[in-house]
Assembly symmetry: D2
Homo-oligomer: 395 residues x 4
């Protein structure tokens, strides 16, 4: 009614079943009518819209994002072992070529060693009390009642396990981070539901909470933060390799001594600029894999944080490592089961249950290849020229 | 040759013309052979691969990312004026519904006011000198020779204009940020090329530079940083609105007083956690629009930074603003001209030259709607239930 | 010998006993001879230099720092209860007057409530391994062997207790923070000694550590850091009060509504500027008490971090709190036993064993008074005028 | 009157002339009466209290802080040239010995090269407008009217010169930083007065400002911030030296290769922990000089920020630099003219007009010596033992 009064025309929906080609077509017609644009490509998709319940509302069609294939990527992980061909969804010229070149370099050096250091997903309620003293005392109670809270939280989920409740206090608030393992799912939703159940149990059992808020900027979902860089969100994963100077010279036309000097300058630059990543461009590879494989690309916000640490060995060898402290990945749930997304996970042998650690290692290994490729290109001053060659349609 | 020796099997390429269905098919066959996965959906796309030169290498097919349609979004911008239906590419259930709800709320409140505060794109070379003194003196020379440097830089580009060279000194290095306006392109590549030309001119004309590096973590491309939050990368854009308490109560089942209290708690939480965004989840809306419209989603890393500032007025009205300090957008170049991407830009009336400011305003307005929707949902504790309702296939 | 060769003339020392007036006088003569300056005031001190062993080397005399007396400060703490007159050592005009005014304001409002939330002191060794995997595995071993490590650490100290070993991993390193309670001492030295003993035990019992470094920027002694703001260094202490609008108007010629608005603007400013303290000037009061009472004023670096959180109540009351997350204080050891320093601690009833919590509360309460005084003065635009009145000898 | 009613007993003051021994004695008696503590040492000072107008209120006596003498410090500055004996006021055992050892090391290596890169002091008003658009437009007006604003600001001061107005926008606010040079004074007060005058001129000449606040967390006086690390507050000064491996081995019993490795680990640690200083302990030396020479030690909060950058040369030489981005120093005004403080400045040839650059260089050179001394001691694992030897009275 208010719609009619103020002239607002909502997007058409089929209240019975909105996940059909007909409902989609009705919206495409609506767009034609309202904007004059006739959708030809957006409405070209190869799957049945009925699979999209739980993934999108008011479905209109698809974005077709080009995928380039890079590889082989040689990984010496604990979960990912062997060679992989990596689908990268991107429209940025040179990106696939650059990662592919890095993969070649590291293949020649024996591959990338990957290690998952930690794994946890958070929801972060804040509790408000009359004064700081009650907030502090509540912190003690939380520690004493962890088992009961864990039980309340885990009653809501099959795969989530509450492993810790971190506490951060200020003023009359107690900020917490409820940390869970979440199996093969990224877990933002299950942790939300479990934590809400836990909060209800808490409120029922602890008198004196003035208010609580389910989220107060301490999980920093889809945001970069120091707390996540320190304490992990998703997977904390390291990719390492030792590159010999002769391979760098042959494949990259750079040398390790100069790369090391450039790195020192970049490290200080990043410290001064207040960056969340002292490396080169991990977001490029991460985003491209995320889109290809049905990850939530909004998590690039926190997944793009990285710590690069390198060492120049006396013989000219170059130890290079990248630590990704908050890599949010899933091989189950979210967009992972959609048509193209599932195929891309399958190409990597990473679809479904029990595969998320393997997938995280492949992502980290890919990132390392991209770091070395761009890092050496900057040093070799080939970087802009590379863009000229491949990125022909740039303005 | 080394390929043969070490058994590395590279991805097949057609050296003559790799942007054909045949070349793509050869790679799909290769994937079948190497991994056993038969691609059916990835290889379903509605355009001719020849359009992809400059966008991707070793093309294999596409990711089909579902698009939901939200709107109408009512914008009172300087460039975007009126109602828009916004395509959001995502596989995260509830996202479109949540933004749609926020758009309805703000429609009822008279729409979103948007303002672009600044606009600049950087490349950030660092110059190395024998000691700090020479680095400092070079800084003076840079200022004195700005016009000549600008000429050298701009000779490489039609649309890029050098507007400033920022200087940051430490040790024996001078870190710089070359700031450009870049028209309707995002401009990372053109600024790279222009700055390299500028650096060559500089090196030719200033003796005593020991080395220079084209990038040293001061542009922080695809990384979040304080320097970009302070000094803008891409567009610095504000979305503002005043929401009345009765609309919040009716549409959101929340109230402004409680939302304001929650915001204070979130502000302190974010200050303590070291987050780059004291708001709720701007990355969600930004990423979804970015993927739909051919933006570089890797830029979500820096585009996800945001400053939320709110005020509770004596009459219960709620002033809400979000400032996005480093929103990287384009309506020309990159992925904007691809098949589905262009259609989505056209739906917004934002394809091509002269449209980037309008597009930036639409993105910012969309973000504001999402902030209010999630912000009020958290307060209303409906949030997890909303996920239950829509996100049925979550683990 | 090298001294003679290169002409370097070291400061004279008495190898037998350097803590005498004679040794001091020999250095004063040396200064006269080398610089022409005859020290009259520096060499005027009221104690015997023999007390200075363990506090200073190559003693030359004293800095006489003026102390102003502020108060009464009314504290409703758990350890500090009642009225205190606070010695503030400073040469900054208006500082004492400003704190004194804030103390009057809060006296009229019923005093300051103080709460110590946490208490811990760190030393932070980093352990280096061949690769990330060994570093991770070592982390598990550390957890499993906490009791033995604790025993090794505590064997070196009477008052230090190891309460936790935090772990932060990156690359092939495991960074740790050894957290201790340290009684009435600040504890930087005892934690250093205890942690070195612990590290020796660890190295003896865990094969495969490539190297360890006793400190690697994770304790951030005398430096401000996010990790200390999150996890406490020294005391984490809150001071709270509710101020009525009529008292603010009468004493401060400001009003709470305007102060609240100013605070919102300051909060956003601080978030953007990347400050470690969103308040006004806690370092002023902390430094002045530190110098007066023999604290290590270099710890102002981390003790100056603060979180201010305020609320404007519907009746115009103003809830104001300041949380100091890393307040380094002692009532025993260091400079606390020196002549004037001890007297100042005694004035507060805080000298010696069992007094450090009381002292921490007095410091926090003092800080709150200063925040309200300057905060209201800025609002009242009296601030510069106040400096004009008192700070007559400013250039 | 309210004093009487609520029982508050203020500190006695002499309204005619409070800067006398009599007034001080009255307060000492008051302390005796209220706390039972008889002040013997605090009331022992060697100057006439009349000199303290403008430095302290409600004068009670002095803190006698021990001064140790370190040196000779060999400086190759642009303003400080030659050898200096540096007074360090501290009660922390080993501090003077450690700095002295570092000075010896660097003397043997030819001294410390110092360079002042920048010099500016800020006051940072924020201006509030009805919406973001007016705030942005005001920014343009500010740029256009710089000369008139400069004139208004400089009318209030002899030594302050307005050199730039930085702008940072968010929401409906424009945050500014008014940057001044301030001669030999630290300048916080003169910039406050000048900026208030400028703001009055602005408000008189620009209609539409809803409110302005003289300070909003963008100058970050006495607080550490990224904006000051990027843009300088006070002096931005570098100290550099090249140390040979054989001197490190002889003087420090360490070696440069191991120091370099430790530095890499510390750099990453500091990046992760979010520290404002990747070095060792610059606050120690800075605080000790500050207290000795009448600087405002509360400025240690921001002066403790530092960027360390090192290089290991192929021949084993170690290039070491420390950049202090916000060193607040004065040789005129504040506490610099007090009795002992002036003597200490005179010992360095740094008292009064025209000496502040020289003094800043001496401070920076001292810091470098301390960094190398502690840095090498940590590596040599002598560090804790050194504390054992000197710090005998530690608990």
């Amino acid at each position: 009614m208010s719609e009619l009064l103020n002239g607002r025309v909502p997007v058409p929906r089929d209240r019975e079943n909105d996940y059909t080609r007909e409902a989609e077509q009705r919206r495409a017609d609506f767009i034609k009518e309202r904007t004059g644009v006739e959708l030809q490509h957006v409405t070209s998709y190869s799957f049945d819209p009925s699979v999209l319940t739980g993934n999108v509302e008011q479905f209109l069609g698809v974005a077709q994002v080009p995928i380039g294939l890079a590889g082989p990527l040689l990984v010496n992980g604990e979960h990912a072992r062997g060679e992989f061909y990596v689908p990268l969804a991107t429209a940025e010229g040179t990106l696939v070529a650059s990662y592919n070149r890095g993969m070649r370099l590291l293949y020649e050096c024996g591959g990338v060693t990957t290690t998952i250091l930690d794994d946890r997903m958070q929801r972060a309620p804040a509790f408000l009390f009359p004064s700081a003293r009650e907030a502090r005392d509540f912190g003690g109670w939380l520690r004493d009642n962890f088992d009961a809270i864990k039980e309340a939280a885990e009653a809501t989920t099959r795969s989530g396990k509450l492993i810790e409740i971190e506490q951060y206090s200020a003023s009359r608030m107690l900020y917490t981070r409820f940390d869970y393992t979440t199996g093969d799912a990224a877990g933002q939703n299950l942790t939300g539901k479990a934590t809400q159940a836990a909060c209800k149990w808490i409120v029922d059992n602890y008198p004196g909470i003035e208010h609580y808020f389910l989220e107060s900027n301490f999980a920093t979902d889809k945001k970069s933060s120091q707390v996540n860089m320190l304490h992990t969100r998703g997977k904390r994963v390291v990719a390492e390799a030792v590159i010999t100077n002769d391979v760098i010279q042959r494949v990259m036309r750079a040398n390790t001594e100069l790369m090391f000097r450039a790195r020192q300058v970049s490290n200080l630059g990043g410290f001064m600029s207040g960056v969340n990543n002292n490396g080169a461009h991990s977001a490029n590879g991460i985003t491209a894999i995320f889109i290809a494989t049905g990850q939530d690309a909004a998590n690039v916000a926190e997944s793009s944080a990285a710590f690069v640490h390198v060492e120049l060995r006396p013989n000219g060898d170059y130890y290079y490592s990248v630590t990704i402290p908050s890599l949010i990945v899933a091989t189950y749930g979210g967009g992972t089961g959609l048509a193209t997304q599932r195929e891309c996970l399958e190409m990597l042998g990473c679809y479904g249950a029990g595969k998320v650690a393997k997938f995280a290692e492949i992502v980290a290994a890919t990132v390392l290849c991209g770091e070395l490729s761009l890092g050496s290109a900057i040093v070799a001053e080939e970087w802009v020229e590379a863009h000229d060659l491949y990125g022909r349609n740039r303005p």
